[in-house]
């Protein structure tokens, strides 16, 4: 088996194991750190897919910003030391695992039996991307031409979210 497939299997195994450990950890700080491991491995997978810019923003935004935000909130929350029982109801865990197994088997069945590989090919072949100057240049050109209006709307969304977060974090809400 060639190197890239082996690397994929390694990243996938570590990411899935860490994702399961996110759920099994009693301490939320451990959950956040296991989630960091998952996100870094998913970023490595994006590099395998030749999506370098996505890999970088995965590290910067998810691992850097969002997880640090989670860690701060874990620190600020009252009653963080008191460990909660993991389960809500006695029947809830088996039922959830059964639902999960049904869902994952359905998804894998669809992936393996349907013609997901079909479809019309787009214009952005690896040669075209290399001719523009690489993944980041090609993505930037599309983001600022084809996707300019969604890009501006996303910036307004971030502004609204920042204002909302500041309002919600006020002491006397």
């Amino acid at each position: 088996m060639e190197l890239l497939s082996l690397l994929f299997l390694l990243f996938a195994a570590v990411a899935l194991t860490a994702a399961v450990l996110v759920l099994l950890s009693r301490n939320p700080v451990h959950s956040v750190l296991f989630m960091l491991l998952t996100f870094v491995n998913v970023a490595a997978m994006f590099v395998l897919l030749q999506a370098e810019f996505i890999a970088v923003i995965q590290i910067l935004v998810y691992s850097g910003a969002i997880l640090v935000l989670f860690l701060f909130v874990v620190m600020l929350l009252a009653g963080g030391e008191r460990p909660l029982p993991v389960l809500n109801q006695p029947l809830q865990a088996p039922a959830a695992v059964i639902v999960g197994l049904v869902l994952v088997s359905e998804l894998v069945l669809v992936v393996l039996t349907s013609t997901v590989g079909g479809g019309r090919k787009g214009p952005d072949t690896p040669e075209r991307i290399a001719a523009v100057g690489g993944n980041i240049e090609a993505l930037g050109r599309q983001l600022y031409t084809t996707w300019l209006l969604p890009f501006e709307i996303a910036s307004v969304l971030l502004l609204v979210a920042a204002v909302g977060a500041i309002y919600l974090a006020k002491e006397d809400l």
Partner: protein, 101 residues
């Protein structure tokens, strides 16, 4: 030669399911929120894998917007969690039932 598309989609399905089971099983409000982020990340993997397979950058452009929305959602969601925890003095979603009363 890169791994086939099916491998990425299977990985994405597994990661999404782990996130779903996390939302259903855990009662710590932060861990539930983290599971939602896991599901968003699973969708990102599928989008980038499809984009790579179909020779288009649209998938990666979508992921840029998904990450933006995830960041906004994390900021507002964690603000709500902080306000809720200050109001109710608990992180157990089973006790957050103000709408029922």
């Amino acid at each position: 030669m890169t791994p086939p598309l099916e491998w990425y989609l299977t990985f994405s399905a597994a990661l999404f399911t782990i996130g779903l089971v996390g939302v259903l099983v855990r009662r710590h409000v932060l861990v539930i929120f983290m599971s939602v982020e896991l599901m968003l990340n699973a969708c990102n993997v599928a989008l980038v894998a499809f984009g790579r397979h179909l020779d288009t950058l649209a998938g990666q452009n979508f992921v840029v917007f998904v990450v933006t929305v995830a960041a906004a959602e994390a900021a507002v969601g964690l603000g709500i969690i902080l306000a809720l925890a200050r109001h109710k003095d608990t992180v157990d979603v089973g006790e957050m039932d103000m709408l029922k009363q």
